[in-house]
């Protein structure tokens, strides 16, 4: 099990483990793809416990809780993305967090603790995944894509914030994506709108489209391009586009909104902004 960075967090966990004082119920908070499940399985490994990823459905939660009372061997139960649990499921977990049974450990992972009940939050010990440093991501990228060029590595670390971002970029031709980004961003005001909207066909909206670009990473690359143009030209329109792209990036992070519609609307807004600038 190779964990990148997170030295502070691992030291904190190891310290509690060494003191035989590891809490029975913890919450791990961090962005998507930052390694929350990996940390949870690390905890299970260090405790010498069976690691059981569990379903979020209320019946499944109740079954797990019932069974945990009959369990003799150390077991770590993990609910990933616990913020997605129904209210009934969260309340079911609440009961067991008051006094967890012997040999049972419960871990909830979430990208935002605001999605949990305040009572669930107050009973657990919160561990935060720390932001990855540029050098950590760079080392990870070099390790995962040993044949990549320096310019690819630079692009990867400029637009990645988590190891999952790096892994996704490792699957595609980053230089080719950069070319698409430059052509789109530099010409969106003068290019035919039909052609600009075609960009959506290069993006990955379904899990199986492995060779396509992740919309979030693509928009981050566009934002990075506009930041570079702003530095280069000092033209305020690019500041406006950086801010616009940032708003759409936050919409893309929302799991409920259509990603296709988000990217298309970003293209339309960017096109209109550039056309009105003349």
């Amino acid at each position: 099990m190779k964990i990148i960075g997170q030295k502070k967090l691992l030291a904190e966990i190891d310290h509690l483990l060494q003191d035989n004082n590891f809490p029975r119920y913890i919450i791990i908070q961090g962005p998507v793809g930052s390694g929350k499940k990996l940390i949870a399985s690390y905890v299970a490994q260090q405790l010498g416990a069976t690691f059981v990823p569990c379903e979020l459905a209320v019946d499944s939660v109740r079954d797990v809780i019932e069974l945990s009372y009959t369990q003799m061997d150390p077991t770590v139960y993990m609910w990933a993305d616990a913020n997605k649990m129904s209210m009934a499921a969260k309340n079911a977990v609440l009961k067991i967090t008051e006094e967890p049974p012997q040999n049972s450990y419960f871990i909830m992972t979430t990208d935002n603790v605001k999605g949990l009940l305040s009572t669930l939050l107050s009973r657990g010990t919160l561990f935060n995944i720390n932001p990855y440093t540029v050098s950590e991501l760079k080392d990870f990228a070099k390790n995962k894509i040993p044949d990549s060029t320096d310019s690819s590595i630079n692009t990867i670390i400029n637009i990645s914030t988590t190891p999952l971002d790096v892994l996704m970029l490792a699957e595609i031709d980053v230089d080719k994506m950069n070319k698409v980004v430059s052509v789109l961003c530099d010409n969106i005001g003068s290019a035919n709108l039909a052609n600009s909207l075609k960009v959506s066909t290069f993006l990955r909206y379904k899990e199986e489209d492995k060779d396509k670009y992740d919309p979030i990473l693509f928009l981050r690359a566009c934002m990075f391009r506009y930041s570079a143009l702003l530095k280069e030209t000092r033209d305020p329109v690019y500041a406006k586009l950086v801010s616009l792209t940032s708003t759409y990036l936050s919409d893309l992070s929302s799991k409920s909104l259509s990603k296709v519609a988000t990217v298309d609307n970003w293209i339309l807004d960017t096109h209109v902004t550039m056309v009105s600038r003349g």
Partner: protein, 314 residues
């Protein structure tokens, strides 16, 4: 494993300790689950997930020596829990028990499918010839009518069972033949027709810039209780395609400029030039605002959203 192999193993009563059933033909899937259950001597238990029965499977208790068949539906965590796949495949996990995982669908390109392809049985819609035999078991219809029924039900055995039940009840209450009952159902539009076509009627009315027709279709849309989210999603795709096709006029290859398929282009061309490009952009943005209202901000109630959308569009 295919359906024939499963059939053979059931008739020879040689059961495996792991089955994974999937597919849209749920009625046939249910028949085979019952067959498995009948052949298996132990008790059948329905479980939520593998994690919920993990302790029972691991248990060495003398009180728990009875073998069981566990039916587990849509256990999504197993699809990614690759660490336990080997134990499942070699049977150490299930010991003397049988595990049957039932999934609504399985991605054929995923790792899980590749790992368990020998254990997965796909229940897909059956051919007309096979379904004719199933229909004959339920009702006495002429071959032509049976074939028509199969087509109406889109080869879905579950729907066929519901419709043959309708025929049986009508025939029994009016003392008429099954053939006559079938004809009466056809005459009175009593057979179920999926609502997808009707959603497209509303969509076409909006794209045709036909206000009267849009509001007429909206009434039946509301009566059916269809979801506005579906129409917002379809509307976005179609407005975008029309905008792209309109903007690409004059180019020799519209497909190359837009990235749309031939079907999408032909469909968009039916509605081109009924709105200007500026109007289309505005409509896409209003559509987006409505989506955000429903899914994110809650600014407008979902039941009011289409009224709001149409007032803004027209």
């Amino acid at each position: 494993m295919n359906l024939m192999e499963l059939k053979k193993s059931l008739s020879s009563k040689t059961l495996n300790n792991l089955y994974i059933f999937t597919g849209e033909e749920t009625a046939i899937l249910k028949i085979y689950l019952n067959k498995l259950s009948n052949i298996f001597s132990g008790k059948t238990i329905h479980a939520e997930s593998l994690s919920s029965i993990v302790n029972k499977l691991k248990s060495n208790s003398l009180l728990d020596t009875t073998n069981s068949m566990y039916i587990i539906r849509d256990d999504k965590s197993l699809l990614t829990a690759d660490k336990i796949w080997a134990s499942l495949k070699n049977g150490t996990y299930q010991r003397q028990n049988i595990l049957v995982f039932v999934y609504t669908s399985i991605d054929k390109r995923g790792k899980f499918y590749k790992e368990f392809s020998d254990n997965i049985v796909f229940f897909e819609h059956l051919s007309t010839d096979v379904l004719l035999k199933y229909v004959a078991k339920e009702v006495q219809l002429s071959i032509d009518r049976s074939t028509q029924l199969i087509d109406i039900c889109q080869h879905n055995y579950n729907t066929i069972l519901l419709e043959t039940d309708k025929i049986q009840n009508l025939s029994a209450s009016l003392h008429i033949t099954h053939d006559r009952a079938f004809d009466m159902c056809i005459e009175n539009n009593a057979f179920y027709i999926p609502a997808e076509g009707e959603i497209f009627d509303l969509l076409n009315a909006i794209l045709s810039n036909n206000v009267q027709s849009t509001y007429n279709q909206l009434q039946s849309f509301i009566k059916r209780g269809d979801s506005p989210i579906a129409i917002l999603s379809l509307l976005h795709t179609n407005l975008k395609a029309i905008l792209q096709v309109q903007c690409a006029q004059g180019y020799s290859s519209i497909a190359q400029v837009t990235g749309l398929s031939g079907f999408q282009i032909r469909n968009a061309e039916k509605f081109q030039n009924l709105y200007t490009e500026e109007e289309l952009i505005r409509m896409i943005k209003i559509n987006r605002f409505c989506e955000k209202c429903i899914k994110q901000t809650g600014l407008i109630d979902i039941n009011m959203i289409l009224d709001f959308l149409f007032v803004k569009i027209f």
